[in-house]
């Protein structure tokens, strides 16, 4: 993207609360931001190391529950609970990374699904800790000094900061020996090992960073909706992340964000244009069309198109 394009985009993002016609759109923007962080997180594993995690909702949920419990039960400040939630999710990522590092492809997928399944069942059944299926209502909104970040514009900037942070981390990682090691594992694992890329170390590292980012999104989600229930572990959340990453363009920095924006706006847009009977059907059909016409995702398709335009 050109410098001018980037400046316009930054300007739009920074001024969004001032020109969006109503808070509902800001709500959509906040959800898109939270899912943007999630999509970036999944993309680190799927797009760069080539390992598909279908248990990513687990890290999201762990982040959400950790943050909610620490602020509700121990009355920690949001600013302490947030890093703690990130750390706990990262720990879970480390565990999964260690457990599953010998597994690839379908087997890795199933271990991550199973892990998420176990965590979800714990959230339902461990009543004393999680309040079970009743969930945790009344998660406090964050405050910053004397100001509450309860309002949507303030929370929007918080989420925007998180999105920027997550994309910055991704960008730096990708353009470093760590990111290259991730890609090397995806492209040719034996060759990567032959020049000293430690498979275990980098797969676990990718899982940890990815899980930490998902935990960040989970904490932001908990303090935004102010209600956490076992549904945060729903498989459909993971599926949504996969849709965002793959349709946006896996293995690109912008793809997950574009995917998150489109696939958060799309269901809300469908609410407005199609009656409820047809919404999910339309969503599925649009997804199929998108994959058939742009199999590599939106961002790579645009990049390829631009290359063709400028010979």
């Amino acid at each position: 993207m050109s410098g001018a394009g980037r400046a316009v985009l930054a300007g739009l993002a920074l001024t969004l609360p001032f020109w969006l016609p109503n808070p509902y759109f800001l709500h959509v923007a906040i959800m898109a931001g939270i899912f943007g962080v999630l999509a970036l997180s999944l993309n680190l594993l799927l797009g760069y190391t080539g390992q598909l995690s279908l248990g990513h909702a687990a890290f999201f949920g762990i982040g959400a529950y950790a943050s909610a419990l620490l602020t509700l039960r121990l009355e920690w400040s949001f600013w302490l609970a947030l890093p703690a939630a990130v750390a706990l999710a990262a720990l879970a990522g480390w565990l999964i990374g260690r457990l599953a590092l010998k597994l690839r492809g379908a087997y890795f997928v199933l271990v991550t699904i199973s892990f998420a399944g176990v965590v979800a069942l714990v959230s339902v059944n461990w009543m004393e800790l999680t309040n079970g299926p009743l969930g945790l209502p009344g998660v406090p909104a964050p405050t910053l000094g004397p100001w509450s970040l309860r309002g949507k514009p303030a929370y929007y900037y918080l989420v925007l900061a998180a999105v920027l942070l997550a994309s910055l981390v991704c960008r730096r990682l990708v353009h470093s020996r760590i990111g290259r090691a991730f890609v090397a594992l995806r492209e040719n694992e034996p060759l990567a090992e032959s020049v000293g890329v430690d498979v275990t170390h980098y797969l676990v590292l990718a899982a940890v960073v990815s899980a930490a980012m998902a935990g960040l999104a989970g904490s932001l989600y908990a303090h935004y909706t102010r209600f956490v229930s076992p549904e945060v572990f729903l498989f459909s959340y993971t599926v949504t992340m996969v849709i965002m990453v793959v349709a946006g363009g896996k293995g690109t920095l912008a793809g997950p964000l574009v995917g998150a924006l489109i696939f958060t706006v799309l269901p809300e847009a469908l609410r407005a244009v199609v009656s409820w009977q047809w919404q999910m059907l339309a969503y599925g059909v649009l997804l199929i069309l998108l994959v058939v016409f742009l199999p590599r995702g939106i961002v790579p398709a645009i990049a390829a198109w631009r290359v063709r335009q400028a010979p």
Partner: protein, 290 residues
Amino acid sequence: MAELLQHLVNGLVLGGTYALLGIGLTLIFGLMNVVNFAHGEFYTLGAYATFAALGLAGANFFAAVLAAIACGAVLGALCEQALLRPLRAESIDTTMLVMIGVWIAMQNAELLIWGGVAKSIPHPFPTAPLVLGPVSIAPLRAFVLVLAAGLIVMAYLAIHRTRLGTAMRATFQDRDTAALMGVRIHRMHTVTFAFGSGLAAAAGALLGPVFLAYPSMGDLASLKAFSVVILGGLGNLPGATLGGLLLGIAEELGAGYISSGYRDAVGFVIIILVLLLRPAGLFTKQERIG
């Protein structure tokens, strides 16, 4: 003791249903390498097709089951030709995403057509249980278990003992050589997907009457099918069968003796353990590396 026996019988019956779900997917996922999230929807389709054939066309129960299988196979073939064929050069994630789209679209189309109310599918078997000493089993479930075993054996023979099956396996093991030997690659893809989808529909047709038919019934079916396929080893029909039985019995005993709230967790933990200890699946000979 009587309770344990009953749990084991229950587990066997449940495992049989899991195996039935798994064999279709082990072809599509194991051989074709398509992460088919829509597998459960073909199962749902089988159940609704049976319901429609019985209720609307007034067909005989067994004819309805056959019609449902045909329905699943035809739709599977269409799906393969229209969506998967153009994406054959793309990565496994791309085909997975298109199947996620099919999953969402099919499930909501079913909701639109049939409404959300569960349908009970009538069957010709008596409802009173067969009592054998301390244990009991419903005649329908016993029938399904026998038929599932029959279907599994048939599928095995079709794949390992017929020319078509040989061509099928050749296609996915070494596509170029198979093409050189005159196998029509495109057609083998379509046939395999149709075969797998037909088996899923068969599972739906048989299990629909045991349970109920409703639009989201395929979600759980997909999850269990994936578990069974991976437990048994990709593309391995006897493995999928044993994997199904293992999962069924483990869940049953877990719910019976540990905690019913953690029932599915027992299955998940077994999957994790199996994959950690035998990464290529429980019933596959370890491949050598190098």
